[in-house]
C-alpha cells in the first residue's frame, strides 16, 4: 500500500493571522498511496493547513514540500500535481455531467483526445450513461459526490485532498464512496482526507488529530487507541479534543 516514498513533508509549518496562530508548528509526513486522515475539531486549523498544502495560502513560517515541490516557491507546480474535492464546492451545478468532466479535465491539463476517452470511460464506470447530459444540480447528492471525486482524480494526481467528502451522504453511498477511495489509493494516489465520521477514521492507514492549531496525535488507528487506552476512534477523538480552548 505505501512504498515509503514521501509525498508530503512539513516541518514546523505555521500560519498566523495577526495575533491568532491558526496552525502552530505542525510537522508530519505522508507516504505515497497512503490514506491519511486529517482530523480535528471545528476551528482546530485543518482548513488553513490544507490551504497551505494546496499552494493557496503562504505560510507564516516553517517548511513543506508537496509532491516534491516547495510550497513557497512552487505553488503552481503543486496545483498541477493534486486533486481537490470538498462537500461545499466540487462541481458546477448548472453544467451537465459531461460538461463538468470536460471543464475540470481541461483545467487539469488533459488534451482533447484524453478528455474524450477518459470522460466516456468515467461515465460508463459510474453508470451515468443516461445522465451524461443531465445538469449536475439534478443528481442525487451521493452521485454528485462520487462524480466529484472521480473528476478530482481524472488527471491521475499524486495527491487528492478531500475536505469532508461524505457529509450528509446516506450510509450505503458513504461506503461506496470509500470503495472509490481505496481504489484510488491502490493505484498509487495518496489520499488526504478530513471527516467528522469517526468510523471513517478507521478506514485510514494513519490519522492525525489537530487540537487548537497543533497536531496532538498521529499514528495508525490501532496505535492511537492503544496509546490513549480507548476502544474506539470516537473515544480517542473525544479524549484529545474535549480539552480544546479554541471556540469552534
Amino acid at each position: 500500500m505505501n512504498s515509503g516514498e514521501t509525498v508530503i513533508k512539513t516541518a514546523n509549518l505555521t500560519k498566523q493571522f495577526g495575533d491568532f496562530v491558526a496552525v502552530n508548528q505542525i510537522s508530519f509526513e505522508v507516504y505515497k498511496g497512503e490514506i491519511f486522515g486529517f482530523l480535528g475539531a471545528n476551528g482546530a486549523g485543518k482548513t488553513t493547513a490544507m490551504r497551505m498544502l494546496c499552494g493557496l495560502s503562504i505560510p507564516s513560517s516553517g517548511n513543506a514540500t508537496v509532491a516534491g515541490f516547495d510550497i513557497y516557491r512552487q505553488p503552481e507546480q503543486i496545483k498541477r500535481q493534486i486533486g481537490y474535492m470538498s462537500q461545499k464546492f466540487s462541481l458546477y451545478e448548472d453544467l451537465t455531467v459531461k460538461e463538468n468532466i470536460h471543464f475540470f479535465g481541461g483545467i487539469y491539463g488533459l488534451d482533447n483526445q484524453e478528455l474524450k476517452t477518459k470522460s466516456d470511460a468515467l461515465i460508463a464506470q459510474l453508470g451515468l450513461q443516461s445522465e451524461a447530459k443531465t445538469l449536475v444540480r439534478e443528481l442525487p447528492l451521493g452521485w454528485k459526490q462520487k462524480l466529484a471525486f472521480s473528476v478530482s482524480v481524472l488527471h491521475k494526481p499524486k495527491i487528492v485532498f478531500l475536505d469532508e467528502p461524505t457529509g450528509g451522504v446516506d450510509p450505503v453511498t458513504r461506503r461506496q464512496f470509500w470503495t472509490l477511495i481505496y481504489e484510488a489509493a491502490s493505484n498509487g494516489i495518496t489520499v488526504f482526507v478530513t471527516t467528522h465520521y469517526m468510523d471513517e477514521a478507521e478506514y485510514c492507514n494513519r490519522v492525525s488529530i489537530m487540537v487548537d492549531g497543533s497536531i496532538e496525535a498521529l499514528g495508525t488507528p490501532q496505535e492511537l487507541k492503544t496509546q490513549l487506552n480507548e476502544t474506539t476512534m470516537d473515544g480517542v477523538f473525544y479524549q484529545l479534543a474535549r480539552g480544546a480552548k479554541r471556540e469552534a
Binding site: 451521493g142 450528509g168 450510509p171 468510523d199
Partner: protein
C-alpha cells in the same frame, strides 16, 4: 383516515399528540421531484423526536411545512392542535424554529438579536431567561459582538437561544449538528436533553445515525419516504437477522473476498470491522463456516463476533433489502 381538521383547534389541544402528520406530500418542479411522499407520524408532548436521513431525504421540507412556511400538496397536519394551513398564525407564534442555514441578523449583536426576537414574540429576555441561561452564559462574554463575526459554534448557540426565548411549545431544529465535530455534537445533545427535561417538545433532524439513539423515538427517512417510526430500541430489536463483526489482518482483501463467501450474505465496512449480515438466521453454523472459509483463504488474525446492530445497520438493511 378521515379527520376533522381546522375546527378542532381548541378541543384537540388536550390530545396527547403535540404533532400529528397525516399523509402529507410535497413535490417540486411541477411534480417532477417528490420531496415528501405520503408521510405520516405523530410526536407526543414532551418527546424528543428525531428525523434521521441523508441530504435530500425530505427532512427540511417536512420542517418547513410544519412551521407553516411551505404548503403541502396533499395531506394534513396539526401542531399543538392547530392546522398547519388554516391556523398558521397560532403555530407561528407558538413554535421555535432553527433552520439549517444560519438566519439571524448578521449586523445585529448577540444581545440585539436576542432582544429583537423576544420583542417580536411579545415577551422579554428576562421573562424566559431560565430556558436559555446555561446556553447563553457561554456566549454572554461576546454579547456586544455582531452575529456575522461569531464562530460557527457560537452562532449555533445564539440561534438556539433566539428560537427558545418565547418559550415555544415545540422546538424545531433542522440539522443543528451537520458539519459539527464529535465533541461539539455531544455537547449540543446534552443541551437538548436539558431542554427536554424542561418540558419542551423537540423535533430534530440529523444525517448522523449515531445521534438516533439519543432520541425518544425516530423516523428513518430516505427519498421522501418514511422507512420506519419507532423507538431506537424497538427498531434495533426488529432487526431480522444475525449480524457479525468480522476482522482480519488484511482488511482490504477481506472486503473484496467476503462477497464470494455466500451469495445471500451482505457485508460492508463498519469502523474497524466489517459487518456481515447473515440472512438465514436459522442456518446457524455460519460463524464456523465463515472462519473455515477465511482460514482456507489464508487470512491471519481472524475475528468473527456476533453483535447487535446499530441504527446505522438498520438503515443500511432497509436501504438494501
Amino acid at each position: 383516515m378521515v379527520e376533522h381538521s381546522a375546527s378542532g383547534a381548541g378541543s384537540s389541544k388536550k390530545s396527547l399528540n403535540m404533532i400529528a402528520v397525516n399523509h402529507i406530500s410535497k413535490t417540486y418542479n411541477g411534480g417532477a421531484v417528490k420531496a415528501v411522499n405520503d408521510v405520516s407520524f405523530t410526536v407526543d408532548r414532551g418527546e424528543l423526536f428525531g428525523l434521521i436521513g441523508p441530504d435530500g431525504a425530505g427532512k427540511s421540507s417536512i420542517f418547513r411545512m410544519l412551521t407553516t412556511l411551505l404548503l403541502p400538496d396533499s395531506g394534513t397536519a396539526t401542531v399543538n392542535g392547530y392546522n398547519i394551513v388554516t391556523n398558521y398564525q397560532q403555530i407561528r407564534s407558538s413554535v421555535g424554529y432553527m433552520p439549517g442555514r444560519f438566519s439571524l441578523y448578521q449586523d445585529l449583536s448577540i444581545e440585539e438579536n436576542l432582544h429583537f426576537f423576544a420583542t417580536l414574540f411579545n415577551t422579554t429576555v428576562e421573562e424566559n431567561y431560565h430556558l436559555i441561561a446555561d446556553i447563553y452564559v457561554q456566549i454572554a462574554p461576546f454579547k456586544k459582538r455582531r452575529a456575522g463575526k461569531l464562530s460557527g459554534g457560537m452562532k449555533q448557540k445564539l440561534a438556539l437561544c433566539c428560537a427558545l426565548i418565547h418559550k415555544p411549545t415545540v422546538l424545531f431544529l433542522d440539522e443543528p449538528t451537520t458539519g459539527v465535530d464529535p465533541v461539539s455534537r455531544k455537547e449540543f445533545w446534552e443541551m437538548l436533553g436539558r431542554l427536554k427535561r424542561q418540558g419542551i417538545t423537540i423535533v430534530v433532524s440529523t444525517p448522523y445515525m449515531d445521534e438516533a439513539s439519543l432520541c425518544d423515538r425516530i423516523a428513518l427517512i430516505q427519498q421522501g419516504k418514511i422507512l420506519s417510526v419507532d423507538t431506537p430500541q424497538q427498531i434495533i430489536a426488529a432487526y431480522p437477522d444475525q449480524l457479525y463483526a468480522v476482522k482480519a489482518a488484511d482488511m482490504l482483501r477481506l472486503v473484496q473476498i467476503l462477497p464470494t463467501f455466500r451469495p445471500s450474505v451482505n457485508s460492508y465496512l463498519f469502523g474497524e470491522y466489517i459487518h456481515v449480515d447473515a440472512l438465514d438466521i436459522n442456518g446457524d453454523g455460519l460463524k464456523d463456516d465463515l472462519i473455515r472459509f477465511l482460514d482456507a483463504e489464508g487470512f491471519k488474525g481472524i475475528e468473527v463476533i456476533p453483535i447487535s446492530p446499530t441504527i446505522e445497520d438498520c438503515f443500511i438493511k432497509m436501504l438494501t433489502s
